[in-house]
């Protein structure tokens, strides 16, 4: 009934602009950031954005426009978040255009188990979208507001760091909303899994690609071209004759669409895989495309089909040409590739090209090339520049010295940790193709790089939420961990190791994008990946692949739905209430261990605005800004009594960069603690926190006294040690707030 009124209201107001009511959200931001203060680490202390400059802002000096270093950091963070939000918005916009072209009246997918299909959008705007057209209005609003936020980064606009941060938080929220919209459209348009816990398994890893077949490689984040390729193959009935595989989120999406599609791997494998010469045709769509992909493919005679106006790579626009002509032009190398802005045409051209090129290709050429690559080892002068520019600081020079002696093992170990950025190649005095060399050295390993990942399942269902709402809010399920973002960390097993540590303990683990892939790159002694070992439901001990980067919206959506379904909080235009609920009562923690991009900055900042804490890996400190709470009792409100009370600083931080895996794991457990925990829930959470701290750091955490409200919450097995700390710290028991809030 209530719903109907809202929808009716929306129809009547159709002429009115949809709005996020930024001024109201700004109030929330200022409140939130009074608890979690921005912490700045400049990656560069200069500003070169206008012709007053370059200005040296070192030591927090002011530049020619009057900005100081602190504000400049906040400004750059806002700029990065705008870039990220724009990227997801433009991605969603492209999907919308395809949907409107294919079916202007497309209804959004619904299910008996999922009532609120757009929790983020509904909370922020009050709109409950039902059709693709409803989403167009929301996207208009997002684009309008991104433009406003970007304008604020211009020289001579915003002049306060907290207001820059408020705008960054807003950009993050818009990013979340755009992702939700993009997911809704592609799930509806391509009939992708919609909250299925037992979704099919997908083959993943460089070793899974069948090189005997023609291979089409899709790189990027946009499902449209890949889906069209799959459709065309099915039309011809040769879907088993051609290998369609992908890198990055496109891979996740095409493997949601077709059970045959394979995932080569995350971003970090892009350069390596292209250089292996396995692909016959490379189709790029948007995002996470190496900037030198055309140069590299050209050098290997692989035609590149660009499909997006955002990433045209200088290629001729052949959208209006006949497929026959395009194929001829590419085969005769008239062009190194083509821009084709019509996904159906891309499907035909890519498939027909791959079939022809596979015929022509000689395996021998590739083997010879690999041999030459090995030959180059002896060129090494041991100058050490590879080591100096490697972002992972891998011991490349040392591996080369060993390789010269005939031992390729160290080089093969480099492959395991390398993120394929190629900087070592750029700085090599002898121009040795090092990234390629790691691949050749690891050839045997790569053959066995065969894993399984559950396909991206989409949203968490209402049914699941109903079941776990109470145990999560009260703390019986110790937490929900989201592994998100790129996989640019420098140890292949970090992510599976972290995931399993929490799965074993009954946490719910959800993963997206390259992180959901990285978790699959590990097998236990029985040869099982974590996805095969743990169930796929949003429940205790479940491991969920929600889907691509866009699917991060489902993780936030799940938190919102707990507030809505379990706690009966109305969503419509109720952002501060919902975020306050999540912040104080829902034990969820996101981990972006290898985050690289501006999108990741936007995603994390958006999560922060909802009250969801995020832990970054050590390189995440390069994002310039963290939000840190204080390690002391925190004054918040108990809404039941209206009083200010002292309570645990939970979550301690909103976004933090950990030095090491050892620091991160106990911290994840700690950041799942919430003021709302029942004594039993708190006891469970603290048990894990202490357990993990002892295991990974070697001690009982020294801040444990902040999180214990009365003696019943002291984990039995650590009673002695904990009591000692409590005594040292002069701990006193205290009341738990009944309705914790910062509003």
């Amino acid at each position: 009934d209530y719903e109907k009124i809202v929808i009716k209201g929306f129809e009547e107001e159709e002429e009115k602009e949809v709005s996020s009511n930024y001024p109201k959200l700004r109030e929330w931001d200022h409140k939130l950031l009074s608890y979690f203060k921005p912490f700045y680490s400049p990656l560069c202390s200069l500003c070169c954005l206008c012709t007053y400059g370059k200005c040296d802002l070192s030591k927090n000096r002011k530049g020619g426009c009057g900005i100081n270093l602190e504000k400049q950091q906040a400004r750059i963070v806002l700029l990065a978040c705008c870039m990220g939000a724009a990227t997801h918005t433009s991605h969603a916009r492209h999907l919308l255009e395809i949907a409107l072209k294919k079916n202007p009246n497309l209804k959004l997918k619904t299910s008996r188990d999922i009532q609120v299909i757009a929790p983020i959008t509904t909370t922020v705007t009050g709109v409950k979208p039902e059709t693709v057209k409803d989403l167009a209005k929301i996207l208009d609003m997002i684009e309008r507001e991104i433009t406003m936020l970007l304008a604020a980064t211009h020289t001579g606009q915003e002049g306060d760091s907290i207001d820059f941060e408020s705008k960054a938080l807003h950009a993050g929220l818009l990013d979340n909303m755009a992702k939700e919209i993009g997911e809704l459209i592609q799930i509806s348009l391509y009939d992708l899994p919609f909250g299925e816990e037992d979704v099919h398994f997908v083959e993943i890893g460089l070793g899974t690609i069948e090189k005997e077949k023609p291979v089409i490689l899709c790189i990027g984040h946009n499902i449209a071209p890949g889906a069209a390729i799959i459709d065309y193959l099915e039309e011809l009935g040769i879907e088993d004759k051609v290998e369609v595989c992908g890198l990055c989120c496109t891979a996740i999406d095409i493997s949601r669409y077709s059970k045959r599609a394979k995932i080569v791997g995350p971003l970090s494998r892009q350069l390596t895989f292209i250089l292996s010469g396995t692909a016959d045709v490379v189709v790029i769509d948007e995002q996470c495309i190496r900037n030198d992909v055309l140069e590299i493919c050209s050098s290997m005679d692989i035609p590149v089909i660009a499909t997006s106006e955002k990433a045209s790579f200088g290629l001729p626009d052949l959208t209006d040409e006949e497929p026959d002509k395009i194929i001829r032009d590419l085969l005769t190398k008239k062009y190194p590739g083509a821009l084709i802005r019509d996904e159906d045409k891309v499907g035909e051209v890519a498939v027909r090209l791959a079939l022809i090129l596979k015929e022509q290709k000689k395996r021998i050429g590739l083997d010879l090339r690999d041999k030459q690559v090995l030959e180059s080892i002896k060129e090494c002068t041991e100058c050490g520049w590879c080591n100096r520019v490697c972002p992972a600081m891998l011991p490349i020079k040392e591996a080369m010295i060993e390789a010269k002696k005939g031992n390729l093992e160290p080089l093969s170990n480099i492959y395991e940790k390398c993120v394929g950025c190629g900087k070592c190649v750029e700085f090599c005095e002898r121009n040795i193709k090092l990234v390629d060399l790691y691949r050749v050295a690891a050839k045997e390993r790569i053959k066995n790089e065969k894993f399984k990942v559950r396909a991206g399942r989409g949203p968490v269902t209402d049914v699941e939420i109903r079941k776990v709402g109470a145990p999560i809010v009260f703390g019986d399920i110790p937490g929900v961990i989201l592994f998100a973002g790129c996989d640019n960390y420098y140890n292949g097993n970090d992510l599976p190791l972290m995931a399993e540590e929490f799965l074993k303990r009954g946490y719910i683990v959800v993963a997206t994008g390259c992180s959901s892939m990285a978790i699959a790159f590990y097998k236990d002694k029985d040869g099982k990946t974590l996805y095969e070992k743990y169930h796929g439901a949003f429940d205790r001990g479940g491991l969920l692949n929600l889907g691509p980067c866009l699917a991060n919206a489902h993780a936030i959506g799940a938190a919102i739905k707990i507030a809505n379904i379990f706690a009966k909080l109305p969503l419509e235009k109720n952002f501060p209430e919902v975020a306050d609920y999540i912040l104080n009562r829902i034990g969820v923690c996101a981990v972006a261990w290898g985050a690289m991009s501006q999108k990741a900055a936007a995603i994390a900042t958006g999560a922060n605005r909802w009250g969801i804490p995020v832990i970054l890996g050590p390189h995440g400190s390069k994002y310039r800004r963290l939000y840190l709470g204080e390690e002391m009792l925190r004054k918040i409100k108990d809404r039941r009594t209206g009083e200010l009370i002292d309570t645990e600083p939970a979550p301690l931080h909103l976004i933090y960069a950990a030095e090491s895996l050892n620091e991160a794991i106990p911290l994840i457990a700690k950041l799942c603690i919430r003021p709302n925990d029942t004594p039993k829930g708190r006891l469970i959470k603290l048990t894990h926190y202490i357990d993990l701290s002892k295991k990974y750091l070697g001690y009982v955490p020294e801040d444990i006294h902040l999180y214990i409200r009365n003696e019943r919450e002291i984990p039995y097995q650590y009673k002695e040690e904990v009591k000692k700390i409590l005594k040292e710290k002069g701990w006193k028991p205290r009341e738990a707030p009944k309705e914790p809030s910062i509003l």
Binding site: S41, S45, S58, S621, Y656, E659
Partner: protein
């Protein structure tokens, strides 16, 4: 510096063991931070670092701080004065009014070793620009432009001899 991209207008001075020893002697509230790499460095070097730490603590009452899990190694030889996350620590150091681990106020000289380079660089950047009240010295094998003083880029052999030299000067 180690990585040419980390160029910056004011760059760390190169520190010899002698300069480090003198700085510690002059400091009123020195601190020595030992990071997570202690768990993975060659044993010889780790041992040398630990001996330096012991000496600093015993002779100059330097506050020994363990970050990122280095306690696993450190605790076998020495009980640190504090255990904390590196970012939490930097955030405290940045605050001129921080009361310190012992309630006696902030510190004036911070020595670092074994914190992974890239996060260390960022932490040093925070202190360089926003903490005029203290000085930083890095004893790592990679030169840190954002410190006030830093060892130069060193091979493991040279690093070892720098550390030995430092030990002899304390």
């Amino acid at each position: 510096m180690w990585n040419p991209a980390y160029v910056t207008p004011e760059i760390a001075n190169i520190a010899s063991p002698k300069i480090v020893a003198m700085a510690v002697k002059k400091a009123k509230r020195p601190m020595f931070v030992l990071g997570s790499l202690l768990n993975s460095l060659p044993e010889e070097i780790t041992m040398e670092i630990l001996e330096v730490a012991k000496l600093l603590k015993n002779k100059y009452n330097v506050t020994i701080v363990s970050t990122g899990g280095s306690y696993l190694t450190l605790s076998k030889y020495l009980e640190p004065d504090a255990k904390i996350g590196i970012i939490d620590l930097i955030n405290n150091l940045r605050n001129p009014y921080w009361e310190g681990f012992d309630g006696k106020g902030n510190y004036d000289l911070i020595l670092f070793v074994g914190v992974p380079y890239y996060i260390a660089t960022q932490g040093l950047s925070t202190l360089k620009h926003f903490a005029p009240h203290l000085r930083t010295i890095t004893l790592c094998k990679f030169m840190h432009p954002n410190a006030d003083y830093s060892f130069p880029n060193l091979s493991n052999e040279d690093w070892l001899s720098y550390l030995r030299n430092l030990k002899s000067l304390i």
